[in-house]
């Protein structure tokens, strides 16, 4: 039985704001994307017995090849989404947006999250990413109706990444380039990725770093047993490792006009990371010679998706964290239809934000970053 998310909840509150969702997951199927693949990958994928959805999550929930299932042992369902196992459709995306009170959405590939860790064969990633970009352009994205896209960047292969940027340069439906932070080795501040950032900066295309990697029982070290452990740790580690790499290697100094955002790790990890990095930098500044200010000041130049917002924390603590990051750097993100998605009401209900700040977080900051 699916969760009845057609049931209107707080519709008046939702209607009062224009809401842009900076992180919605399109649960594309292998079969749909394979139609747009080049050979030999088209034939290989179609014959791979991946089924429509690839590795089925409900199988993994019983015999876990990760630390457990996304839907918390059957507790979590979605009415207007394929979640967890059917392929998505464009119609259902619109239903899902309406059901949670979102007016415009930025879709990212669901399957690329898993592919980012595939470092042994980067042709597979780039083949998928190219096909995904074409599939979404042709069949799903619709900027006039508020359905925008983020193009997955197979950053292990810089040439393929540049080809994808060439392809989307004149396509209004793509408003950002998406880098999955899990598994990126070397980390994303490495100079090998410079040409990608330079191209994004030239195109005035936002760079969106999206975390991943939770649920892997060998996240950093082997032996974790529960999703609660790996999801809490893995998402933070994946984003933190890339934030540190980008800042220390000077990416914001090399490409000062590049808008950088990080998704899906909430906000309370940021003050801890900023203060620790600043403390270390005072002792070792010569290892980051491009920096013109404290590392934490670059971190607060980045933008952050709000989800999963730690709304159960002590309000004074959460207020301090958001104050340190800055309401002008936060963008509402739902992560819909995932198990821990947020509705816009999570932002509207923050008791310490002004009305102007709520509007900034719900839409105005995203309009600026993504040119919407």
């Amino acid at each position: 039985m699916s969760q009845a998310d057609t049931e209107s909840r707080r519709q008046e509150d939702l209607d009062a704001y224009h809401v842009i969702d900076c992180d919605c997951h399109y649960m594309e199927s292998f079969n749909d994307v394979a139609e747009y693949m080049e050979e030999p990958w088209k034939t290989k994928f179609e014959g791979s017995n991946f089924d429509e959805k690839g590795a089925k999550q409900n199988l993994s929930s019983f015999f876990p090849f990760s630390t457990g299932d996304r839907q918390a042992h059957g507790k979590i369902t979605r009415e207007h989404s394929s979640y967890p196992d059917d392929p998505e459709t464009p119609e259902r995306i619109r239903e899902g947006m309406e059901s949670i009170g979102v007016d415009e959405t930025l879709l990212i590939s669901h399957l690329i999250l898993a592919g980012a860790g595939t470092i042994a064969d980067d042709t597979r990633q780039s083949a998928f990413a190219k096909a995904y970009v074409e599939y979404m352009s042709e069949e799903v994205l619709d900027p006039d109706d508020g359905i925008h896209g983020l193009a997955p960047i197979p950053y292990y292969d810089v040439d393929a990444s540049m080809e994808i940027l060439d392809r989307i340069e004149d396509r209004d439906e793509y408003v950002g380039a998406c880098f999955v932070t899990a598994g990126a080795t070397p980390p994303l501040g490495n100079r090998k990725y410079d040409p990608i950032y330079e191209r994004c900066e030239d195109m005035d295309l936002a760079a969106v770093f999206h975390t991943g990697g939770a649920g892997l029982d060998e996240y950093v070290r082997g032996g974790y047993q529960e999703m609660l452990e790996t999801h809490t740790l893995g998402f933070l580690e994946s984003n933190m490792s890339q934030i540190v790499s980008l800042v220390v290697q000077g990416v914001p100094e090399k490409f000062p006009d590049l808008d950088i955002s990080f998704m899906e790790s909430g906000v309370t990890y940021l003050p801890g990371l900023m203060t620790r990095l600043d403390e270390e930098y005072l002792k070792r500044p010569e290892e980051a010679p491009l920096l013109e200010k404290k590392p934490g000041e670059y971190i607060t130049d980045f933008y952050y998706g709000t989800q999963p917002l730690e709304i159960s924390a002590d309000p004074a603590y959460l207020e301090k964290c958001i104050d340190m990051v800055g309401a002008d750097q936060l963008m509402f993100a739902s992560d819909y239809p995932h198990w821990d998605y947020d509705r816009p009401t999570t932002v509207m209900d923050l008791p310490f934000l002004s009305e102007e700040e709520v509007e900034m977080v719900l839409s105005k900051n995203a309009q600026e970053v993504f040119g919407l």
Partner: protein
């Protein structure tokens, strides 16, 4: 001359030498580095370490030349640094500014050489 604190004859200094004097209740380190004299507070702004007994060295600089290439690193031709031996907090030896954050500045003092004798004068910053 009453505001000056005598250190020792200039010709008794060699590069790398440092002497410590009391200037109005503050311990000040007087150093000769690359034939120039410097005087700084010998109490690190971080945690009170004996910064003036630390290593002096040229400032390491980095320059971004072009995307995809390594940052070119080289030592400055004229800027020198002194680093506290306790935790490595490093200051420009001339200005006293912390390398990472010039909101933090180690007090520096005038150095005067008169009649072949080195004196420390008033605080500069």
């Amino acid at each position: 001359m009453s505001d000056l604190v005598e250190v020792k004859p200039a010709d008794e200094f060699e590069n790398g030498d440092r002497e410590f004097v009391d200037v109005g209740g503050v311990e000040v380190g007087v150093l000769q580095v690359e034939d120039e004299f410097y005087a700084l507070q010998n109490y690190c702004m971080h945690d009170g370490g004996p910064v003036c007994s630390g290593k002096t060295h040229r400032k390491l600089l980095g320059e971004f030349k072009e995307p995809g290439q390594r940052v070119e690193k080289s030592y400055s031709e004229d800027e020198c640094v002194i680093s506290c031996p306790w935790h490595g907090w490093s200051y420009d030896i001339e200005s006293g500014d912390h390398l990472a954050n010039d909101d933090i500045s180690l007090p520096t003092y005038e150095v005067v050489v008169e009649d072949g004798v080195v004196y420390v004068g008033g605080q500069k910053n």
